[in-house]
């Protein structure tokens, strides 16, 4: 079971070089960056939504906090955006507690409703608050003042930074999955009452999962802001940011290690393709397809593509 992993790793490392000879090298490299970013966000969602089975539909909350804080530090005090990353994580953790602490003693639907309500609340407040740029949002430094501003002309350096972050997050997720926390979370997902009766501190571990998830997602937001150099309320806190994380993880396989990466590899090129082919009206169509995919997964294959794959392999082996 080790060689597919090595092959996948090698492919991901070699990707910018592999496409560099083609006519649309810059486009494909940029797409690679988008895929990695989407995979990082969905990996974050996957901890609480997949492993712990607590479905958040407002993860834009943490993505937005992670994206806003670095640029906020630059905007007001001209600090390097990189310094804002831990602040983004801190704000995300506070938001995670505010949402998770009250709802995790209730049945799961309350958590889902609270995530979407709080995300919308923050979206509206940020969109009307001049200190954080209101509807226009925030800008990063236009020209690099040093390496620490992380501004590069080519997308290749971003690709490798994002790849390194994704590798770290996947490693952390894997460690968690193998350890006690992983067992606890799977027990909680399978049946909360049963887990509690076996002595799992259910509420506490759901909260841990959400905090870890919020941290990862906040990092995804920070990376987005660092690369993009700007952020606005819709790209930070909009509902579609949350939707993208949910659908990517669920398509690949919620609660599996590679699910988010698989989902991102399929969905991001698909999204780019529909937007190019259908132009301006494509945005609507993209989300029709998103909605359709989510409904189909929920109805026919809640385990996502990874589970489907495992089943196909198992039938062939027999």
């Amino acid at each position: 079971m080790r060689w597919p992993w090595l092959a996948l790793g090698a492919l991901l490392i070699a990707y910018p070089w592999l496409v560099s000879g083609t006519d649309s090298a810059a486009f494909l490299q940029d797409m690679g960056v988008l895929v990695l970013l989407a995979a990082i966000g969905a990996t974050g969602w996957n901890i609480v939504g997949g492993y712990a089975g607590q479905v958040s539909v407002g993860h834009a909350l943490f993505f937005g906090a992670g994206a806003y804080l670095p640029l906020l530090l630059y905007q007001h005090w001209l600090l390097p955006p990189l310094l804002g990353v831990p602040f983004g994580v801190a704000v995300s953790l506070a938001l995670a507690l505010a949402v998770g602490y009250p709802t995790f003693r209730l049945v799961g639907h309350y958590f889902s409703m609270a995530t979407i309500a709080v995300a919308e609340l923050v979206h509206i407040v940020v969109g009307n608050w001049d200190f954080v740029g209101a509807a226009i949002g925030l800008q990063g430094p236009a020209t690099p003042r040093g390496w620490y501003d992380l501004i590069f002309l080519s997308s290749v350096p971003y690709y490798y930074i994002f790849l390194a972050v994704l590798a770290l997050l996947l490693l952390a997720t894997w460690r968690m999955q193998q350890g006690r926390v992983g067992y606890y979370l799977r027990a909680i997902r399978a049946g909360e009452r049963a887990a509690r009766s076996l002595g799992v501190p259910v509420r506490r571990y759901k909260l841990y999962a959400l905090m870890l998830s919020a941290t990862f997602t906040s990092l995804a937001g920070s990376l987005y802001a660092l690369k993009n150099g700007s952020i606005d309320p819709d790209y930070g806190f909009g509902i579609l940011v949350s939707v993208r994380m949910v659908i990517i993880a669920a398509l690949g396989g919620a609660g599996t290690l590679v699910g988010p990466l698989v989902g991102a590899v399929i969905l991001i090129p698909l999204e780019t393709w529909t937007n190019t082919v259908f132009g301006g009206s494509g945005s609507g169509l993209t989300y029709i397809i998103y909605g359709g995919i989510i409904v189909l997964i929920a109805r026919f294959e809640p385990g996502g593509l990874v589970e489907l794959w495992h089943r196909l392999v198992a039938t062939r082996a027999r």
Partner: protein, 287 residues
């Protein structure tokens, strides 16, 4: 109380009655099968568009387009139950939430694609008047919407508590297995519940379309409003949703007047979070 504020209060209560109507649909579905319908706001939006299409292409007046919205949404609700919810209901919670959430996106952007994101209004036709009740100005469409919605929400409550059909619905809600042993077919009743819930949202949408501009994206706000109302009223309680609907309508209108219309939703969602911290079982719910 100044006359101005009194006018806001009356309008808030009338709007609250409409909130009560579509929220009681959401709470009915929750009570019967423990499913939260994230597409409930889209049902309201579809009701608005069904009414608009009826008015535009069949030249129907307020009575006709409200009925049309009710019938169309009832059918949509039943179809969605049979095609999706019936199978997803027994699956993991992830599948349940994803199914209705995906449905919300699908419906929202299908309408967006078909009818463009333009903001529309629905002419109130024969209802287009303003009443002057001793200095309090009330738009007739709002008055009619509030009264009709209040009556229908009450009707829903009476249907559940006073009729044989209602007791069968409640029997399924209470214990599906036991209901089956009594010869009740839960499947049909759950389909009916989805139809009723969607129809209540559709009627509410048609009623509001005469005084609120709407677009394919308006549904999300109504879904969140319904969540807040249902939580405040206690999940599964129709009388709770009726009371909470009035409270939320009132709070929303008063805060729009006192703080500013941009922040009316912030106040309501903030109330929701406070509620989850302090009294998650709601006003009338049991702990």
């Amino acid at each position: 109380m100044s006359l101005n504020l009194l006018q806001i209060v009356v309008n808030g209560l009338l709007l609250g009655a409409v909130y009560a109507l579509f929220s009681s649909g959401l709470t009915l579905i929750w009570g019967m099968m423990n499913v939260i319908n994230f597409a409930h706001g889209e049902f309201v939006m579809l009701g608005m568009f069904a009414a608009w299409l009826t008015q535009r292409y069949l030249a129907g007046g307020p009575l006709v387009f409200t009925l049309a919205a009710a019938v169309v949404l009832f059918l949509i609700g039943v179809v969605i139950y049979v095609a999706i919810i019936r199978d997803v209901m027994r699956g993991p919670m992830l599948a349940q939430i994803l199914a209705t959430f995906g449905l919300a996106l699908l419906l929202r952007y299908a309408v967006f694609w078909a009818f463009s994101p333009d903001v529309r209004t629905l002419p109130a036709g024969a209802l287009d008047h303003t009443l002057d009740l001793g200095g309090i100005l009330i738009r007739l469409p709002r008055l009619v919407a509030g009264l009709v919605a209040g009556a229908l929400a009450l009707g829903m409550h009476l249907l559940l508590t006073r009729t044989a059909l209602g007791s069968r619905l409640l029997a399924v809600a209470e214990d599906r297995q036991a209901a089956m042993l009594m010869g009740i077919r839960p499947d049909r009743l759950q389909a009916l519940a989805w139809g009723l819930a969607a129809a209540s949202a559709g009627i509410a949408g048609a009623l509001m379309a005469t005084f609120f501009p709407f677009s394919p994206l308006t549904g999300e706000t109504y879904a969140l409003t319904a969540f807040v109302v249902v939580t405040l009223g206690g999940f599964g309680s129709v009388p709770g949703a009726m009371l909470a609907g009035l409270v939320i309508g009132l709070i929303e209108q008063v805060s729009a007047y006192e703080i500013g219309p941009i922040y009316q939703d912030v106040v309501v969602y903030g109330l929701f979070v406070a509620l989850l911290w302090l009294r998650p079982q709601g006003l009338l719910g049991k702990a």
